[in-house]
């Protein structure tokens, strides 16, 4: 049986792709505003927590972890992981078309390879069918 994904599950995978890369970018932007943190000035880390870019970055990274765990609950690790790599492509494309940075031929080749890799797994089943799940705990055991 080929496991296909529902639109809401594709939305979760899109969140996996986007939140990590955008969150990292926002964190980097915020920390550049805060300035270098050293062992002698650890208080700056608390100041960083008041920076809106840092706060948004942390929220996005929390969102990444939640969506990553959700995806792993209904898809194989080898199906979900290439999606996380797609984040590198998002950062590179943001750098090219938003920040107008130069992207070398090597990087374009890397982007093409990652997109192809994601395309390979996206065309296949999302979950391996096991005849007898090992120690599976049915969701109904979870109490509200």
């Amino acid at each position: 049986m080929k496991h296909t994904l529902k639109p809401s599950q594709y939305a979760i995978l899109a969140a996996v792709m986007l939140t990590a890369s955008v969150g990292d970018t926002l964190l980097a932007h915020g920390m550049r505003q805060v300035g270098p943190v050293s062992l002698q000035h650890l208080g700056l880390l608390l100041a960083a927590l008041r920076n809106p870019w840092v706060i948004t970055g942390i929220l996005l990274l929390l969102g990444f972890f939640a969506s990553y765990l959700t995806a792993l609950s209904w898809a194989d690790l080898t199906f979900v992981l290439p999606s996380t790599a797609f984040g590198y492509v998002v950062v590179a494309l943001l750098a090219r078309f938003w920040q107008h940075e130069h992207i070398s031929l090597y990087r374009w080749a890397g982007i093409v390879l990652i997109v192809s890799g994601v395309g390979f797994v996206a065309g296949g089943p999302s979950l391996t069918e096991h005849p007898q799940p090992q120690h599976a705990e049915p969701p109904s055991e979870v109490q509200p």
Partner: protein, 137 residues
């Protein structure tokens, strides 16, 4: 003997570089596989959230020892990366450990999670691995 000393030193340095990079990848793979195994045992989080709410889903995840062990391995990987970055250039350490993690995860998922890693998924892991290395240029 003295003429050999620099090459031996370079060899040891290279060995240490790749040992630290391998430790980052190994702990990251352990974290990913343990986390994925825990989520497989817990079941579909969307269904749990429908049935028990967001709090129930969070309790189901945090109550899994396998998940907590996975998070511990991810934390170890993070600190290994910090240690590695203190000795190795980020332009080598970050893409090399990420690429090794992608390939290692495919093998570990097949071995421990019994996932059907067919030609399509091996090709994806290889393409992403090389792609990440190229992005670092």
């Amino acid at each position: 003997m003295s003429a050999l000393a620099p090459s031996v030193a370079i060899h040891v340095g290279t060995l240490e570089t790749w040992a630290t990079i391998l430790s980052v990848a190994a702990t990251a793979i352990a974290g990913d596989v343990l986390t994925a195994g825990a989520m497989r045992r817990i079941g579909d989080l969307d269904l749990i959230r429908e049935r028990a709410g967001l709090g129930g889903a969070i309790r189901a995840v945090i109550g899994s020892p396998m998940f907590l062990l996975g998070v511990l391995c991810m934390a170890l990987s993070f600190f290994s990366l910090l240690f590695t970055l203190s000795k190795v250039d980020v332009s080598l350490a970050a893409p090399a450990s990420a690429s090794l993690t992608f390939i290692g995860n495919a093998a570990a998922a097949r071995l421990f999670l019994k996932e059907n890693v067919d030609h399509r998924r091996w090709a994806a892991a290889l393409f992403v691995c090389v792609g990440v290395l190229l992005l670092a240029h």
